[in-house]
Each structure stands twice: as structure tokens, then as C-alpha cells.
Amino acid sequence: MRYLPLSDADRSTMLQTVGATTIDDLFRDVPKDALLAEPVDLPAHASELSVERQLSTLSRKNVSAGEVPFFLGCGAYKHHIPASVDHIIQRGEFLTAYTPYQPEIAQGTLQVLFEFQTQVARLLGCEVANASMYDGSTACWEAIVMAGRITKRKLAILHQGLHPHYVSVVNTMARFTGDDIADWAPTLRADVGYDDLIAEVEANSPSCVVVQYPDVLGRIGDLTPLADACHANGALLIAVVTEPVALGLIRSPGEMGADIVVGEGQSIGVGLQFGGPYVGLFATREKYVRQMPGRLAGETVDAEGKRGFVLTLSTREQHIRREKATSNICTNSGLCALAFSVHMSLLGEKGLRQLAQLNHARACEVADRLSAIPGVKLVNDSFFNEFTIELPVEARPAVRALADKGVLGGVSLGRLYPNEEQLANGLVIAVTETVTDEDISALEAGLKEVCQ
């Protein structure tokens, strides 16, 4: 066994030291009838070569995004990741370190987290950010819980443009905590409908309003009036960003008045990975910092006065506070936060802006070309790198037909909202810098065919 260093001679010597005759003497607290005499019914050990072959065979049964024209988004985006990002996250000192509970020998991780927090806070337009959550959807629920703690109210109003899986997570959790959730499915209109939402806020005095920016259909709305309405009614505005690259080009939710901004950081540095692991972003106002969930890295000095970093404000957390903690989260998404931070450092302000501009320019081009197809209608007035089109046919089978032609042509709203007939012809198309001219032509030609 290549991962087990003890030799049989070591084992006998050590058994002698511990005063045991056989290894099972050490398992003597296990009731006899529960101790397995034989290995369970699974294959025996295998060589590295054999394992790699088995798993490569499995992986080849998938169509990977890089080998076909690819236009999927809706909460996970394909972006180019610089080679150095993966190199750095594979350094053993980052990859195989634990949570930095011993700060004297974890300054690398701690400084990275401090830099990550700074990048996230600035990008989302907030004063402080934490050291990451599992993903955007769980960060969204934690934000609602936090808003409830601050406002002492139970109702969260979700905007119709919040990703339906996020809505589903919130509803699942709220069922158990007794929170009230108001949510709606979107309609295929250009208007994000914030006026209706403001009326809801005024009528119901909720704990918070949750709005995705840009929303699941790709629409972008000004959050300022919404924030004002929330604040006038004692509610918090929670903004959810599932495509942080957008913030290189459009205003951040924080600067428009959002009180808590959460996000899915996957699109910067992390990769698609079939849904996980991703990295949840969580930022808020300084005055709410003690209500925040999750780990925080903070600056301090060591015994010689040198600057250093530690995990701090842990009296909020489960390992100190137990059942009174702000969250049960422990392990978060450290290595993905590192990947995010490295990619963001490579981009910098200038690179992020260029990346965002390139995404938007490509998306505009694709939107124009697709909406020129007879019967296809562009839903959005506003969008960043993702928009919704309405097809003359049902979109879900159309996506499958496109896949048969070797084009992964977007996410159908039928997949996301199987019970909403009014959305059945909707198709959400994401266009990033990875899309080539040939990809666009392939999508255009494919859509023309399936729309006939």
C-alpha cells in the first residue's frame, strides 16, 4: 500500500510497545459482533495506473465545456483561469495546511485571507467581508438569518429574479427555522419590477429583501430606490451576486445601499467543477460585523511588534459559542478563496475591467445575432454577460437538440422552473471571454434549426 509507511516489522514492534498481541486487541471496546472479520464487499486496492485509468474512463463519458461551443451560466460561469492560479493552489503549504488555528505557522493562509477579505469587500462595495462561505446559495441563507438577528423580524421577501435554486435553499431552511418567505417566479419582461417590490416592503415591513444583481435572467436594476425603501421601513437590503466579474463594469450593490452583499465567487479562479466546490462571498457594514457568520482574519502584532494576522472575533463562532453561535459553519472554502484571490490579484483593477468589458462586448454581439433569428426575441433591455431570449418553441427540448448537435447552448428556464409554463420558451445565454466567433456561429446556426 503506497500510502501506508508502516512495515510489518514496525507493526510488530509497535504492538509490543503498546502491550497488544494483535491489532484487534486495540479494538476491544468494539462489541465482538460489530467488529468485521473480513473486508467489506468492495474491490481490493489498486495501483495508481489502474485508478487513473478507471477514473479517466468515467470522465470521458462527460462532454466538457472546453471541447464544445458553450453558453451556460445561471450561477456558474466558464472563464479562463491563468495557469499560475492552479500552480499556486497546488503548493503543498497551501493545499495541505489546516485552518490557521496556530497563527505563528499559518501566516501564509492568514495573510491570504486578509487580502481576500479586502478584495471581496471592495468588489462588493462593503466595509468588511469574511473569509468565505460554502457557496453563494448557503451564503444567501446565512444573510437572511443574520438580517433576522439584526431586525428581530421573520419575513424575507425574495425578488423574482433570485436564482430558483437559491430560492429553494431558502425555503427549505425557513421551513425549519419558522421564518416567513415571500417569493415569486420571474416573468419574461425587461423590467425587473422593483416598484412592485417596494410596494411589498411598504406593506409588510419585512426583515429583509433579497435581490440578485444581475438577476437570474441577466437583468440589471438600480438598487438605490430599493435600498431607500428598505431603510425607510426598518428592513435590510441583501444583494446576491452570482457573477462577480460583472462588478468590474457595473456599480457594486454596496455603493447603492445594500446592507449585506453575498456572492458566488466561482467565476473568479475556481472553475465549473460540476457544481462544487465553490466559494461563498459575504460582506456587510462594519457595524454588523459581530452578527456575521464564518471565519474572519484580522490584523494584529506579535510579541516583537511585527505585523501578523490571526483568526478573530471567534466568540461569534460554534467552537466557542456552541448553540449560541451566529452559524454552525466550521470548514469553509479556504482553497477556493485562495484561487479567487490569486486570480483577482493577477487581474487587478485594470484586468478585471478589461475582462468585464470583453464579456459585455461579446454578449452584446451574441444578443444581437440571436435576436435577429426569426421568432427569437431578446427579453432584456439591460444585461452584463448573460441575457434571456424567448424562443418560438419550448426551450428545454431545444437545449437537448442543440446538445445533440454538439452545442451546449444555454440554460432553459424549463430546467430551472419546470412548473412555470409562461417561462417554458425562455433560454438564458451566458457569453464569456472563452466564446469564439466559431462558437457563436455554431449556436446561431443550431438555434435557427431548432426554432424552425
Binding site: L6, F94, T300, A303, T312
Partner: protein, 521 residues
């Protein structure tokens, strides 16, 4: 944006004693590194783009009109920044990392390689099902290994980490109780439990009550039985427990809990001690999360990502969260909200946007297939042998509160009794840092005074253990002799002890550019 034009590093070497001071604060290979925001600038970038014509007309009038303040670095600067920082970290790749309850074992590099195969790493969670059959098959494969190893009929793969898995298990329990019209309010947790247990129970809407341990470090069965009643929804047990001991009464505990109409949650953080040797399903467990980042070697990454699949008993299986993978004929499907209605209507719902930590499943699959059923047994055996070897090699110098009651499982626990005036566990831990080891878990579990919980794992050689034992023995002797120099440890780490009180009293959580007056100095 203001940058740090001189490249000056933050450290002040002025207080170092007996060592040659350097202008930079560096000491040969020990390189100080400034913050990204002190060395980068907003107009530097390490990424090139093709020429294109920017357009902004369709952004809803919300174009950004102020600078974000994101520092950029060229690639050589970035690689150097992070490489320098990485060298200030201890890691399992560098040496023994005996954190009790954390299972810091070697992370095989094959895992990393297969996780990066494009068929796994470069697929989107919402791709048409027929284009991701291999991905779904892989999830099914890992699930099958987990159910077989635990002797449980079902598994929920989507939870993102251990605490999220605990939440999943408790929500299954709550849904099952609600389905039979049985509202119960209390979850019992042993006082030695990891903090996530009570926090999770509270997050799931339960009231938490502690159950005491007996003198042998085990759950007090009689006290537990006395507390069980119609208000108790579940008991959360860690087995092997956080004192590193197997709960010999586990089956009796489960039977008593079931007889009272409640369910048994088992925290699987310590599964490494029994993998391939004991199936929790045989002990009456209803739900147990498995930290793939512990037992199944996926890397800890400086604090995640983890993965926390939850195995479930037949009583809880119908309530498992969405989505999940199911094999229908020779095709794998993803059961989501729309299809759940047909044959999984009791699911408690979705707890995460997509379908779990795929990148961790691929790594765990690689580990499982590599070890096989025979190798996984050996994992538990060697892990337990290594821990007992440490226990018996040090119990003459460090008090082992449960040493007399018999062997430990995969971790050895010591207390700080007998240390000289003013010295405690933290001083021993920090002195271990100077000797080139990561400290053990300190002051946990709370039931042992000044607890030192040592988990060596099976991937340590005897030579490595012997070196650790020599080092810890020497430090323990110094602690007992009251050696005050231990208070100063570590002296050889990149930093001396850090002022955590200051950090909490005046939290500085993000970098702020110095005020102009300061910058001009």
C-alpha cells in the same frame, strides 16, 4: 491607487535579540512579504486580453463610476508573492500534523490529478443530463462506497462540509418526526461534543441539552436514559468520541433512543478509526456525516473546501435532500424538484444550489479505489496503532486521563496536570512549533483539563512518530520542571505569539491605505 513604491516590508527587526539584524527584515530563506495592496497597483495586470471594442450602452445606466481599489500584479510578482506567503505555512507535506479530530493525513497527488480531468473539472452543473453521465456515475460510485463501508442503505451527497452534513442529518430527522406528526424540541449532545453539534442543532431549530460523560470518558448511559422522553428528537453522538475512545454502549444507546421514539445522529468526524472495521449501521445509527476531507484524504486547503455526505438509515432515507443521483436502467438521472414529486415526495428539500462537492468526490473516489476494501481496513488499524504507540510512549511524562482504562482509538489524549506554575497546554504546543511540528488540538475536549488531543493518522512512519515522541517528551519534562522559557515559544517561527486580544478588541479586517500624511513619511 497608492502603492508601496519602496517595496519596504512591514516587519521591524529591531527587537530581535542575539541575531544579526538585516535591512529588509528577511533572514535568508525566511522572506517577509508585504500585503498585496502594498506591492500591487490598480494599473498593473498579469492577464492579457485581445483587442476589442468596448461597449457599455446596455448596462441599465449603471456603469461603474468609481475605482474599486483592486491591486494587480504581473505574473512573476504574483507567483513570488504567493510562493513567499506559502512558505510561512506549516502543512502536512512538511511534517507530522497531529491535530486531534482533524485527521490530517497525507493527500495523495493522484487525487489532484484526476480531479483536474476536464470531464470532471470542466463541466457545468446545469448541462443536459446526457452530457454528464460520467459525472453522475462518479457521484453514484462514491455514494456506493460510503453506504457499503457504513452499512447504511442511503446517502445524501450534497452537503458541503461536516457541519453542513450535520445539518442535513438533523433536517432529515426533523422531517421524519414531522411526517409522523411528532413535534419534538430537544436534541441531546454530550458535553464533549465538537462545537458544531450544538450549533447545528440550534440552526435546525432545536433546543440543546448536554448529557454528561462518565469517569471513563464515555457517554453516561444511565444519565442519558433518564433524560430521554417524548420531547427528545435526537441524540448526537460522536463515535469514536472526542476523547479518542470508542463508545462500547453504542448499540444500547441507540436502542434506548429508538425506544423513546427519537433518532440517533452520529458525528462521523472520527470515522478514520473504524473505516473498514466497524459499520455504524450495525450500531443502530440513523444518520452520520462523513468528512471526505478527513477519512478520505481530500486536502484541507487551509480551511476547506470540505465535503460532508450523510449516510442514512431506512427510516430517514425518504427524507434525503434534493438533488440526488439515481440509476434508472443503464442511465443515471438527477432527481430534482420536478421529478421528486413522483417518487420522492418526502424529501426535505434543497440545501445547496447544485449537487455537492464534485471536486472532492473525484479525489475521494481516487483514494477509495487506491486503498480498496483491504487497504481501508489497514488505514483504520494503522491509525489506531500509531495513536496507541504515542499514548504508551508518553504516558509516563504526560498524564493520560483515560490511559488506564485501555487502548485509545485513533487519537491519544493527555492533560496538563503536573505542569509547573503558570505553564499550560499552550506553552507545550508553541514549543512543539519550534521543534518543527504542528501542535496537537489544544483545550478540546473541554472535559479534560488542558486537553492535548494527538491524532497522528496512519500516514506517519514509525521514524516520524519516534521523532515527535522525543520532542514532546523533552518539552513535557521542561513543562513539569516549570521551565519559564516555554512561555516565550515559539522563537523560530515566522512570527512570535500573536496578540489575539488586540485583534478582537480593535478588529482590522480589511486593508486601508495609510492616510496621505503617513504615506509621505
Amino acid at each position: 491607487m497608492t502603492v508601496n513604491p519602496s517595496g519596504w516590508r512591514p516587519s521591524t527587526p529591531a527587537n530581535e535579540q542575539g541575531e544579526a539584524q538585516t535591512v529588509t527584515g528577511n533572514r535568508a530563506l525566511m522572506l517577509e512579504e508585504a500585503l498585496l495592496f502594498e506591492i500591487g497597483s490598480t494599473d498593473q495586470t498579469g492577464v492579457d486580453f485581445p483587442d476589442f471594442k468596448p461597449v457599455t450602452g446596455r448596462l441599465g445606466g449603471l456603469e461603474r463610476n468609481r475605482e474599486i481599489g483592486l491591486a494587480g500584479l504581473s505574473e512573476p510578482e504574483a507567483v513570488r508573492h504567493y510562493t513567499r506567503l506559502s512558505r510561512q505555512n506549516y502543512a502536512i507535506d512538511l511534517g507530522l500534523f497531529p491535530l486531534g479530530s482533524c485527521t490530517m493525513k497525507h493527500n495523495p497527488r493522484l487525487n489532484e490529478k484526476v480531479a483536474r480531468l476536464p470531464g470532471f473539472a470542466d463541466t457545468h452543473p446545469l448541462q443536459p443530463i446526457d452530457t454528464v453521465q460520467g459525472g453522475l456515475e462518479l457521484i453514484d460510485l462514491v455514494g456506493r462506497w460510503l453506504t457499503t463501508l457504513t452499512g447504511m442503505p442511503a446517502v445524501a451527497m450534497s452537503p458541503k462540509a461536516g457541519a453542513h452534513g450535520e445539518l442535513c442529518g438533523l433536517l432529515c430527522i426533523r422531517a421524519a418526526l414531522e411526517a409522523r406528526g411528532d413535534a419534538r424540541e430537544v436534541v441531546l449532545v454530550p458535553e464533549s461534543a465538537h462545537g458544531t453539534n450544538p450549533a447545528t442543532a440550534a440552526f435546525a431549530g432545536y433546543r440543546v441539552e448536554n448529557i454528561p460523560a462518565n469517569d471513563a470518558g464515555r457517554v453516561d448511559l444511565e444519565a442519558l436514559k433518564a433524560r430521554l422522553g417524548p420531547d427528545v428528537a435526537a441524540v448526537m453522538i460522536t463515535n469514536p468520541n472526542t476523547c479518542g475512545l470508542f463508545e462500547p454502549d453504542m448499540k444500547a444507546i441507540s436502542d434506548a433512543v429508538h425506544a423513546a421514539g427519537a433518532l440517533v445522529y452520529c458525528d462521523g468526524a472520527n470515522f478514520n478509526a473504524i473505516v473498514g472495521k466497524v459499520r455504524p449501521g450495525d450500531l443502530g445509527v440513523d444518520a452520520m456525516h462523513i468528512n471526505l476531507h478527513k477519512t478520505f484524504s481530500t486536502p484541507h486547503g487551509g480551511g476547506g473546501p470540505g465535503a460532508g455526505p450523510v449516510v442514512l438509515s431506512a427510516a430517514l432515507a425518504p427524507f434525503a435532500p434534493l438533488p440526488f443521483v439515481e440509476k434508472q436502467g443503464d442511465r443515471f438521472v438527477l432527481v430534482e424538484e420536478e421529478t421528486a414529486e413522483e417518487h420522492h415526495a418526502q424529501s426535505f428539500g434543497r440545501m445547496v444550489a447544485f449537487h455537492g462537492q464534485m471536486g472532492m468526490f473525484t479525489r475521494a473516489a481516487s483514494y477509495m479505489l487506491s486503498h480498496g476494501s483491504d487497504g481501508l481496513r489497514r488505514v483504520a488499524e494503522d491509525a489506531v496503532l500509531n495513536a496507541n504507540y504515542i499514548l504508551r510512549s508518553l504516558e509516563d511524562v504526560l498524564e493520560a486521563p483515560f490511559g488506564a482504562s485501555g487502548p485509545c482509538m485513533h487519537e491519544a489524549i493527555f492533560s496538563d496536570r503536573g505542569f509547573g506554575e503558570g505553564l499550560s497546554t499552550i506553552d507545550v504546543a508553541k514549543a512543539l512549533i519550534d521543534e518543527g511540528f504542528h501542535p496537537m488540538t489544544m483545550y478540546f475536549p473541554l472535559v479534560v483539563h488542558g486537553a492535548m488531543l494527538v491524532e497522528p493518522t496512519e500516514t506517519e512512519s514509525k521514524a516520524s512518530l519516534d521523532q515527535f515522541i522525543v520532542a514532546l517528551r523533552s518539552i513535557a519534562e521542561r513543562a513539569k520542571a516549570g521551565d519559564p522559557s516555554l512561555k516565550a515559544a515559539p522563537v523560530h517561527a515566522p512570527r512570535r505569539r500573536l496578540d489575539e486580544t488586540l485583534a478582537a478588541r480593535k478588529p482590522v479586517l480589511v486593508y486601508k491605505e495609510p492616510a496621505p500624511a503617513q504615506a509621505a513619511e
